[in-house]
Symmetry: C2
Subunit: 184 residues, 2 copies
C-alpha cells in the first residue's frame, strides 16, 4: 500500500453483489436498494440509489508487531468461496475525534481489543478498511468483509464482540449491509 | 475541531497574499504565480495557475499531554501583525507510509522532536496543518504559517531545525512558498 486507493460503493439496480438486508444499528439507515458495486472512481450513471466513497490508506493505530501478524493472517478479497459480504459504514462521535492519538489508541486496542479480538477470525474473514472522514462523507469508515457461507456464524460473533466493546460507545451512526455475490 | 474543514489554496493573478518566492526544497517545484487565496470549497474561476486542496482534521501523532501544551501555546490565524506567511507542501516517501503507527511516531517525535522543537516558536508563529494524501493530491501535507516580520528569523530557524531532523529524510518533495499579506 504505497498509494491511497479511492473506492466508491454504489447501490442501485445492478452490480456484482445482491443486497440481502440493510439494518440501522445506530442512527439513520441508508435507503433500500437491490444491488451494490465496488469500483475506483466510477462515474455515476444517474441510476444509483446512493454512493459512499472511501480511501484505502495507511494504518492509523496498528503497531509494527500487530501489522506483521495481521498481514500474515489476512486473506485477500475475491476468494471464490467468499460468497457472502458485509459493508459496515460507521461514524464516530465528535468526542472521539477530539481525543489525542494516544487516548484513541488506548480505547481502540488496550481497552477494546479491536485487533486482538479480530485476529482469530482473519483466516476466514477478509477485511478492507476505507477511510472517509476527510473526504466530507457522511461516514468516517466503510469496512468491507468477505467470507464463505460456512463462516457466517463466526462473522456474527466478531461483529457482536466489537459492538460490545468500549470503542463502540463512540459510534454514533452504524449501518450493516449484508450481501451475496451475484452468480457469474 | 469536530468536523474536518476543507481548504483550497489557489494561486493566480489575485488574492489576499502576494507570493514573494517559490523555492523547490526537494523534488519538483510549483509554477510561478503572483498571488494566493485560501478558501473553503472555492469554485475555480478558470484563472488559477494551480490549486492545492487539504483538510484540517484530527491530530495523528500528538499525545494528550502534547496537545494540551500545543493548544495553550498556539496563536490563532489572522493576527493583524502577522503580515508574513509561508505555505509548505510536503510529500513523504512510500517507505514512510508503509511504516506502522508506532514506527512513524518514533521517527516523528522521539527521534526528530517535531513537536518539542516547534513548541518554543509557537507563541510567535501561527500554524495550521492540512492533510491532503487521502484526497489524491500531489502532496501529503500543506502546512500554513503566519508570523510578524520581526519573527522572520525565528521562522527560518524553525524550518532549518525540522529539515535537519531524521523525519525529513522521508520527505521526497517539498516546496517553500513565502508570502506577504496584501494591504487591505
Amino acid at each position: 500500500m504505497t498509494q491511497p486507493l479511492a473506492v466508491t460503493f454504489t447501490a442501485g439496480p445492478g452490480g456484482d453483489w445482491r443486497i440481502e438486508r440493510i439494518t440501522a444499528v445506530a442512527g439513520e439507515s441508508l435507503p433500500v436498494a437491490t444491488h451494490l458495486s465496488l469500483g475506483n472512481e466510477m462515474p455515476d450513471q444517474g441510476q444509483s440509489c446512493w454512493r459512499l466513497r472511501g480511501v484505502v490508506s495507511h494504518t492509523r493505530y496498528t503497531t509494527a508487531g500487530e501489522l506483521k501478524r495481521l498481514n500474515a493472517a489476512s486473506p485477500p478479497l475475491g476468494r471464490p468461496e467468499a460468497l457472502c459480504a458485509a459493508l459496515i459504514p460507521i461514524r464516530k462521535s465528535p468526542a472521539w475525534w477530539s481525543m489525542a492519538q494516544d487516548e484513541r489508541r488506548a480505547v481502540f486496542e488496550e481497552r477494546s481489543g479491536h485487533i486482538a479480538k479480530s485476529m482469530p477470525y482473519l483466516p476466514a474473514i477478509a477485511r478492507r478498511l476505507h477511510h472517509a472522514r476527510d473526504l466530507g462523507e457522511p461516514f468516517d469508515f466503510l469496512t468491507w468483509f468477505e467470507y464463505a457461507p460456512e463462516h457466517a456464524d463466526a462473522f456474527e460473533r466478531l461483529v457482536a464482540e466489537l459492538r460490545a466493546s468500549e470503542e463502540w460507545r463512540h459510534v454514533e451512526r452504524e449501518v450493516d449491509i449484508r450481501l451475496r455475490r451475484v452468480a457469474r
